[in-house]
C-alpha cells in the first residue's frame, strides 16, 4: 500500500488528517458547548457554576461582559472534570510533587497546602483565655487543638516538602493557654499507622477522633465497646477536589455505635438569630451520603448553633457541655452523647451573638474549644466572642 502511494499522496493524507483533527477539535467542543445544557452546580468543586453573563451596553463597555463570558464558558466546558483529571495525571507523570493546592503524598495521601499565621494564633489563644475568664468560675473550660495529617503523617509527605511548623504552634498553645489543655501530639503519633486521617480530605477520621476522645477523658483505652459501622466507601474529600484524578481511591467513612446506648439523640439546628431551622432524629444526616460532601453526614455540616439531646443516665445528670468548634469536632461530638445531658455546638463563623449569655441560658457546666491547629491560626472570629 504505502509503497505504491506516491510521496505527494502521503503528504496529502497527512495534511487532510491534521486539518480534520484541528477543525473537529475546535468545532467539536464548540458544538458540544452549545448543545449540552448548562450545569448549575459542580459537585467536584462544591460551588455554583457561572451563568451566561448579563449583556448590556454598560457591561460590554466596562469589560464585565467579556470577563463573565470567559468564566461562563470555562465553567460550562464539556468534560471539565475529566480534563482536570488529565491535567493532574500529566503533572504526576512529570514527577510534580504538588499542583499548587495539594501535595501528592505516598500511599494515595493528598495533603492540602496551607500556611500558618503565628501572630493570629497568638491572638486567638489570648481570645480563648479571655472567653474562658468571662465564662466565670462555675464553668469548666477546656481546649483541645488537633494537629493535621501534614504533621502527624510526615512520613507520607513528598521528600523535601516544606510544611507549616505545627509542632511549634502546638507547643505555643500548650505553653500559653490558661485552659485545661489536651495535647494530642503523642496520642495521634502513636496511631499514625492506622486510618486516623482521610487520604482525600483534610479532616481526621472518626477513629482519629475516638483516640482524641480517649486522651481527652484520660483513658488509655475506650471504656465502651464501640461497633464501627461503615457508612460510605465512596468519599472523595476536599483534597481530591483540588487534585482530581481518576486513579485515586475513595475514602471510607465510619461511625462508631455503642450497642449499650439505648437512647435516641435528636438534634436541633438553629440559625444565628435563634430561629430553629432543622430537626433531625440523630446526629447523623443521611442525606449527605448521596452527595459529594459526605463528611457533612456528621452533625449535618456547618451550622451556627446545634443542640443535641445527650443521655438521661445518672452519670450524665446535670452535665451540659458547649463545644466551640470547627468541623474537626463534627465526628468527635457523637462520642460525647453518653457523657452529657445536652451538647451545644457553636460555630463562631456564623454565630456572633453573646457566647457567655448562650452558655448561661442553657445551663452549661463545661466548655470545650476544639479546633485543628491551622484553623486556630487562621480564625478571625474568636475576637467577637472575646469582646
Amino acid at each position: 500500500m504505502a509503497r505504491t502511494r506516491s510521496q505527494k499522496g502521503r503528504i496529502q493524507v497527512n495534511n487532510v488528517l491534521t486539518a480534520l483533527i484541528f477543525t473537529v477539535f475546535i468545532f467539536g467542543f464548540l458544538i458540544a458547548s452549545l448543545v449540552l445544557s448548562d450545569r448549575t452546580f459542580s459537585d467536584m468543586e462544591n460551588r455554583n457554576l457561572a451563568e451566561f453573563p448579563k449583556i448590556s451596553g454598560e457591561t460590554v463597555l466596562s469589560g464585565d461582559f467579556t470577563k463573565g463570558f470567559e468564566t461562563y464558558v470555562q465553567d460550562q466546558f464539556p468534560s471539565r472534570d475529566r480534563l482536570m483529571s488529565l491535567q493532574t495525571g500529566l503533572q504526576r507523570a512529570a514527577g510534580k510533587k504538588d499542583n499548587g493546592m495539594v501535595l501528592f503524598g505516598q500511599d494515595g495521601y493528598l495533603f492540602s497546602i496551607e500556611t500558618l499565621d503565628e501572630e493570629q494564633l497568638a491572638r486567638n489563644v489570648g481570645y480563648i483565655n479571655t472567653i474562658a475568664e468571662k465564662m466565670g468560675p462555675g464553668i469548666f473550660c477546656q481546649l483541645m487543638v488537633v494537629p493535621t495529617a501534614t504533621d502527624i503523617l510526615k512520613d507520607k509527605l513528598p521528600s523535601y516538602a516544606v510544611t507549616p511548623d505545627e509542632e511549634g504552634a502546638l507547643e505555643y498553645v500548650r505553653a500559653n493557654t490558661r485552659l485545661e489543655y489536651t495535647d494530642l501530639r503523642d496520642t495521634l503519633r502513636q496511631h499514625a499507622s492506622e486510618y486516623i486521617y482521610y487520604r482525600t480530605d483534610h479532616h481526621w477520621t472518626t477513629l482519629g477522633a475516638l483516640y482524641a476522645y480517649n486522651a481527652w477523658k484520660g483513658e488509655p483505652q475506650s471504656a465502651r465497646e464501640y461497633a464501627a459501622e461503615l457508612v460510605s466507601d465512596q468519599f472523595y474529600g476536599t483534597n481530591f477536589s483540588k487534585a482530581v484524578l481518576s486513579s485515586i481511591e475513595p475514602d471510607s467513612i465510619y461511625r462508631y455505635n455503642d450497642p449499650a446506648d439505648p437512647e435516641a439523640h435528636p438534634m436541633e439546628i438553629y440559625e444565628a438569630d435563634g430561629a430553629l431551622s432543622k430537626q433531625l432524629e440523630s446526629v447523623y444526616d443521611e442525606s449527605y451520603l448521596q452527595v459529594k460532601d459526605k463528611y457533612s453526614y456528621f452533625l449535618s455540616g456547618n451550622n451556627p448553633v446545634t443542640k443535641i439531646r445527650g443521655s438521661s443516665s445518672e452519670a450524665a445528670a446535670g452535665k451540659r457541655i458547649m463545644v466551640v468548634k470547627d468541623s474537626f469536632a463534627h465526628c468527635f461530638i457523637p462520642f460525647l452523647l453518653e457523657d452529657y445531658e445536652e451538647i451545644i455546638a457553636v460555630d463562631l463563623r456564623y454565630y456572633r451573638a453573646d457566647l457567655t449569655a448562650l452558655a448561661q441560658e442553657n445551663g452549661i457546666t463545661e466548655v470545650l474549644f476544639l479546633y485543628n491547629v491551622l484553623n486556630l491560626a487562621q480564625d478571625k472570629n474568636l475576637i467577637f466572642a472575646a469582646k
Partner: protein, 477 residues
C-alpha cells in the same frame, strides 16, 4: 482575548475560520478585518476606537507621503504615531520620573496600557518609512490596509510584520490544504509551549520571586531565574508560533521571530536569534538612519547606546527596562570592540555558558522592577544571600526536574531535528524534499505527527481548564 483561552480556542477561532473560508475571495480581507476588530474589542472595548483612529491616521499619512514625498510629511506621520504611543504607554512613566526628580506633583493619568499598541504602531511606522523610501507601495485599499494593521494573529505579541513582507499576499493570496495543516501543527506546538511549559515553569518563578529575596539560597535563586528564563522563551516564542501558525491558516507567511536563542555563543548572536523582528526593526529604522557603523567608531558606540536604550524602553515604561537595554548595549559594545574575537578562541562550552549566564542576569533586571530587589536577587545568585541551598530549594528542584529538562531540551534545535528524523520518508532518504516547504513523510510519520498534534491540543485544553478549576472548599471548617 488571549490565544490560550477557552473563548478564543473554541468560540472565536472556529467561528472566524468558518466565516473566513465561507466568504468569497473578494471579501475575505473584510471578514478578517471584522474578526480582528472583534478580537481586539473583546479585550479592549474602548481602545478599539484608538486602533481605528490609528488605522485612518496612517492610511492618510501614507497618502500624504506618497503625494508630497518630503521629509515633513513623513515626520508628521511618525510624530503622530509616537505621540499616540507616548501618551498611552509612557505618559505616567514620564510624569512619575519628573515628579520624583523635581517633586512637581504632576497628576498621573493612570490609563491602562492598550494591548498590542507597541506592536501595531511599530508596524504602522515601518509602513510609512518604507513608503517614503519606496520600499513599499502606497496602500489605497482601506480595507486591506486596515486588515494589515489590525490582523489578530500577530496583534498582541508579534511578530512585527512589515507590510512590504506580506504586501503581495495581502492583496491576493491562495489558501492551500498544506498551508492550513502546517499552520494548525505550528499553532498546536505554540499552544503547548505556552500552556504546558511556560505557565507551569512560570509558577516556579512566581514562587521564588515572591519569597524574601534577601534570604534566598544560591540554588533557589538560580532555579528561580532559570525558570523565568525558560518561561519567557516558551511564552513569547509560543505566541509567535501560534501567530505564524494562524497566519499560515489564513494564507500568510509571517517572518520567524525566534531561532533557538539560548543556543547562542555570544550576546551578539543572541540578539540575532531573539525577537528577530524587533531587532531588525530597530536596525532598519533607528540604527542605520543614525549612521550605523558608517560614521566612525565613536558615533557607532553612541548609536548602539541609543538603540539599546530605546529597545529597553520599548519593552515597558519603567527604568528597569532601560537599564536592561543598556546592560545589553554594554555587552554588545564589549563584544564588538574586543570580546567577540576572544570568544572564538575559547572552548565552545564556555562560550555557551558565557552567553546564557549574561542573558539570565539580564532577565533578573528585566523581571524585577525595583532596583533594590534586583540587587538583592543578584547578590543571592552569587552567594551573598542565604546560604547555598535549603529544603525549599531541593523541593523546587526535585519537584520540577522533569519539567526543567523538557524545557531546557525544548528550547534547543534538538526537538525539531528529532521530529524530522522520526517522520522522514526513509525510502527516499534525505533527498525527499518535494519543495523547500515540504519534507517527505513516512507512513509512521503521518500517524506520529497527527497524534502529536492531537495530544498537544488535548493536554493544553486540560491545563487551561485546570487553571480555572476553583474548588470552593467549606474551607477548613
Amino acid at each position: 482575548m488571549v490565544f490560550s483561552s477557552i473563548s478564543f480556542l473554541f468560540y472565536f477561532l472556529p467561528i472566524a475560520l468558518g466565516l473566513y473560508f465561507l466568504a468569497p475571495g473578494k471579501i475575505k480581507n473584510l471578514v478578517l478585518l471584522i474578526a480582528s476588530l472583534f478580537f481586539y474589542a473583546w479585550g479592549e472595548p474602548a481602545y478599539v476606537l484608538l486602533m481605528i483612529v490609528s488605522i485612518f491616521l496612517n492610511y492618510g499619512a501614507g497618502r500624504l507621503i506618497a503625494a508630497r514625498r518630503n521629509r515633513i510629511s513623513l515626520s508628521l506621520g511618525i510624530a503622530a504615531n509616537l505621540l499616540i504611543l507616548g501618551f498611552f504607554k509612557y505618559a505616567d512613566f514620564l510624569t512619575g520620573t519628573l515628579n520624583s526628580l523635581f517633586s512637581l506633583g504632576l497628576p498621573e493619568l493612570d490609563l491602562p496600557l492598550p494591548i498590542g499598541i507597541s506592536f501595531y504602531t511599530f508596524q504602522a511606522m515601518s509602513y510609512l518609512v518604507d513608503l517614503y523610501r519606496k520600499d513599499a507601495k502606497l496602500q489605497t485599499n482601506l480595507i486591506d490596509f486596515a486588515a494589515y494593521i489590525a490582523m489578530f494573529p500577530q496583534l498582541i505579541a508579534g511578530p512585527i510584520v512589515r507590510l512590504r513582507s506580506i504586501e503581495d499576499k495581502l492583496h491576493s493570496r491562495t489558501h492551500t490544504l498544506n498551508g492550513f495543516a502546517r499552520g494548525a501543527r505550528r499553532f498546536a506546538v505554540g499552544l503547548g509551549k505556552k500552556v504546558l511549559i511556560a505557565n507551569n515553569i512560570g509558577a516556579v518563578w512566581d514562587q521564588v520571586s515572591a519569597s524574601d529575596l534577601t534570604q534566598l539560597p544560591v540554588l533557589t535563586a538560580w532555579i528561580g531565574i532559570a525558570a523565568f528564563t525558560l518561561q519567557l522563551y516558551f511564552d513569547f516564542s509560543g505566541y509567535s508560533d501560534m501567530a505564524i501558525g494562524l497566519g499560515k491558516m489564513f494564507g500568510f507567511d509571517f517572518p520567524e521571530n525566534f531561532r533557538h536563542p539560548y543556543e547562542s555563543r555570544s550576546i551578539t548572536e543572541f540578539w540575532r536569534r531573539w525577537h528577530i523582528t524587533l531587532g531588525s526593526w530597530f536596525r532598519e529604522y533607528v540604527y542605520i538612519p543614525l549612521g550605523g557603523n558608517k560614521k566612525g567608531l565613536k558615533r557607532q558606540l553612541l548609536n548602539i547606546f541609543i538603540v539599546w536604550m530605546l529597545t529597553g524602553l520599548w519593552h515597558g515604561a519603567s527604568w528597569n527596562f532601560v537599564l536592561w537595554g543598556l546592560f545589553f548595549g554594554v555587552f554588545l559594545l564589549l563584544e564588538k570592540v574586543w570580546l567577540l574575537k576572544r570568544l572564538e578562541k575559547i572552548p565552545r562550552v564556555l562560550t555557551h555558558l558565557y552567553a546564557i549566564v549574561i542573558v539570565m542576569i539580564s532577565w533578573v533586571i528585566f523581571s524585577i522592577e525595583e532596583p533594590g530587589s534586583i540587587a538583592a536577587y543578584l547578590k543571592a545568585m552569587f552567594g551573598f544571600g542565604g546560604g547555598l541551598a535549603d529544603t525549599g530549594s531541593l523541593y523546587l528542584l526535585t519537584s520540577n526536574l522533569i519539567l526543567f529538562i523538557i524545557a531546557a531540551v525544548g528550547c534547543t534545535h534538538f526537538p525539531a531535528a528529532l521530529g524530522r528524523f522520526l517522520i522522514k520518508d526513509r525510502e527516499r532518504g534525505k533527498h525527499s524534499r518535494i519543495d523547500e516547504s515540504e519534507l517527505g513523510v513516512s507512513g509512521i510519520g503521518v500517524i506520529l505527527q497527527n497524534l502529536w498534534t492531537l495530544a498537544l491540543l488535548l493536554a493544553s485544553t486540560g491545563f487551561i481548564i485546570a487553571s480555572t478549576y476553583n474548588p470552593f472548599l467549606y474551607f477548613r471548617f
